[in-house]
Symmetry: D2
């Protein structure tokens, strides 16, 4: 059951500015691109650079005027799918180099400020059971409220206000996990059941499956419950939303429209 | 003129906990280790993992009780030494993949909040001249005041309070640079003229030297003026202090003493 | 030269909610109301209560549906008009009871966080000369930028971002003064040269005029430079904007229009 | 059953500075001072001014060197003692002038940021029942942890960290009440069961007793559960701790000792 994705957006600049985009399904072992097509307006400069953890690519542009992006792909997923609650904690001292950085605080995920809450509320659990309890706590205490947050909202803000959108749910999930010394990263993605259809964001935690060899792997978890690990198509990963915005502009750009459609055949 | 470094510290834990250390001079092309010796107490577990940007190593420990670290090395530096004021800005759209992540905000460096100030105060300059103006602004407006900040102090806090220690000066320098779209990272290091002798921290910015081929490189800059690029021995680099603490403990550890001595023969 | 004021605004509620208004020129010794007329839609409940420091009145309403307010007055000012720079500091230990509370921090004026900056930047001055230096520092470092702030912006935020509207300029002025132990309050007001015409806000500091008997008085100061002490008509005073909003609604109200006109004959 | 109070403290200054004290049981109708004695070192200047809401007095001092304060009193309470859960909400539009200011946000009580949480968690209740639910939520979710907070900790910080001391419990209680449009103030006080014995802080909310005539009154509530309304001796009231610190120094003072003893005969 491949997943079909289409996305298009446009923006306009009044003068030449630099733009960084990351919006395409990443070509990685766990997700095979059956087909992919990216059409963009002409730019003064266009270069691709690999993105964080070598998952996906970023596109550098030098744009002057109106710019349109049109993207379509078909993706087949082949992902490790263990139930999160069955997973075990990897003791910090056994974590590999690539997971260590995801223990640390980041711009929107101030895990140091959540340690006492996490200790009091989830301290009796560990590993996947603890992560699921965090997921359930967010699901039952938060209200999904488009417009209630913005680009500067942090996990701490969301924790106080108890509402937000997928970005905020993912930030809180990442923050609670890190506060318990579980590496956690932010994943921008496509997923078919997201309503309304848009770019989506979820969290990913580093845990180990006792039935599989090897020291640990990344497992997806969505506190909004809109996406499942088996139908999430990753675009990119990072410490938080600051790292994987689908569009970062270095100067003023007037965003004009966006359309995303994700379907599972 | 090699640089001689010695550092020792000790701590004690009441129960087994995980500890992450990063305190050794990094073995990288720009700094050759003539000699290096690390002596540590026995631990239940000890493993080395490579650190951020493959600069230096982190040591994972499982510690129960008192633990002592003793380190000595001799380092010869061979570093690119262009005067910062002569360097040119690399347009964002020409930045290589490894520099891109250092454009983004991090836990202690909220560059998004400094953009209007940076535009107003430094907007007339660019490249190395702009970075030097930021350096001079910090130097003349800040007071070096041990005890005035702590582990949770951010660049924004320091900007308001106009005082701090090397960590805070480096955070503000990194933040101002990023707010102007110059990639900037935080460097933990040793340097001979630091008073009192201790681990030190400086900033590093990604600029290009018009007299050298290639698209850009990292250049050290110390807003405290205690260290110079030609005598800084790097330990590690990261987005901010959260990434390169010399000791991160996952549980309670009683820190007992620390001694650092750095001399240039 | 009396000042003529007219103000009108309207809002609509979907269900009955409580509303608190404070928008009329205060009847106080320093400003004589030659005439005043307030016309409002019918409300389920309408009561007047005296406002902070007995300056002006607040109006409690119970509103269901559309509500219109229309106000006009003519005011003659007779205000103490000493040049601020000639005024002296009142030592804190000589401050009267009514000034003491204006030494303390408030929601939007976190003077505790500005003490080191104020000490470094303005520590060599005192009294009115110091207040004028603060005024000049704000005037020359801030940009008046409608839309750059909102109802949750604090003095610390404005200090970082170096921009704002009259509310923000007044908050920063109040905060710097308090950080130097000068009582300072926030004044909502009308003034003829405000562009575009709207409700205005300025600061007021407690200092003493050496040529006048008595221990101290309140003196107006406007860091935006749009209003002068001799043509400011006070509506109300408080610790900061939280205390003197012209409209506070306890429930959702849809604000529909506002028109203010202030002229000096 | 009168309450006996003794309190003593001392501090030292290196140069003449202004000090503001508020540490005595207030002489107000609800608490009769059977006896009271305040002994203080000589000061260059000493003046009493009335404190907030005319509850208690502040003492202004000009101190140079060591200063000692010794206080003893015996107080008989005669306080309105309705069970909080039986009290009714006073609709905002019926609030008297003196209660209105306690609806607004203050330095440590940012009620605007708690509105969505309060709506979600306590929105189904009103009046005293709602206040008791807030009290119970704090009691069961917070840990009393001396040393976990400091003078700059706000209600929002405490809400995130879920721990604090009496000051923090009172700030959160005040903040939750205000977020639901119930006027709430901060009360510094003495109480016999406080452990360890020290100055104490509780909240006070403005509600009405349906069995008593009149529109509303202030009712004490202590989320730490260490004090009861019938044995609390008020020192002063304010918007939050910024208003009623027992000692505010305008310059450096070295605090040396403090002893408080409160007993009920």
């Amino acid at each position: 059951m491949p997943i079909s994705i289409s996305a298009s957006f446009a923006f306009e600049t009044a003068e030449p500015i630099d733009i960084l985009l990351q919006f395409e399904a990443a070509a990685i072992p766990e997700q095979r691109l059956i087909s992919a097509r990216t059409t963009m307006s002409d730019a003064d400069h266009c270069a691709r650079v690999s993105a964080g953890d070598d998952i996906g690519e970023r596109i550098w542009l030098r744009v002057d005027g109106r710019f349109e992006v049109d993207y379509a792909s078909e993706v087949e997923l082949d992902r490790l799918l263990s139930p999160v609650s069955s997973l075990k904690r990897v003791p910090p001292h056994e974590l590999p180099a690539e997971a260590v950085k995801y223990l640390f605080d980041s711009r929107y995920c101030q895990a140091d400020r959540m340690q006492s809450f996490v200790h009091d509320e989830f301290g009796g659990l560990t590993g996947g059971a603890q992560i699921m309890a965090m997921h359930d706590w967010i699901s039952s205490n938060f209200t999904y409220a488009p417009g209630s947050s913005n680009a500067s909202t942090t996990a701490v803000d969301s924790f106080i206000e108890r509402r937000g959108v997928c970005r905020d749910y993912a930030h809180v999930m990442v923050t609670l996990a890190r506060a318990s010394a579980v590496p956690a990263r932010f994943v921008s993605c496509f997923a078919p059941q997201v309503t309304p259809q848009d770019f989506h964001a979820v969290a990913e935690v580093f845990l180990s499956d006792p039935t599989t060899p090897g020291g640990g792997a990344w497992y997806l978890i969505d506190a909004t419950n809109m996406a499942n690990a088996e139908d999430i198509v990753k675009i990119g990963v990072g410490r938080d939303a600051a790292d994987v915005s689908f569009m970062t502009s270095f100067g003023a750009a007037d965003f004009q429209c966006k359309e995303v459609a994700v379907t599972q055949s």
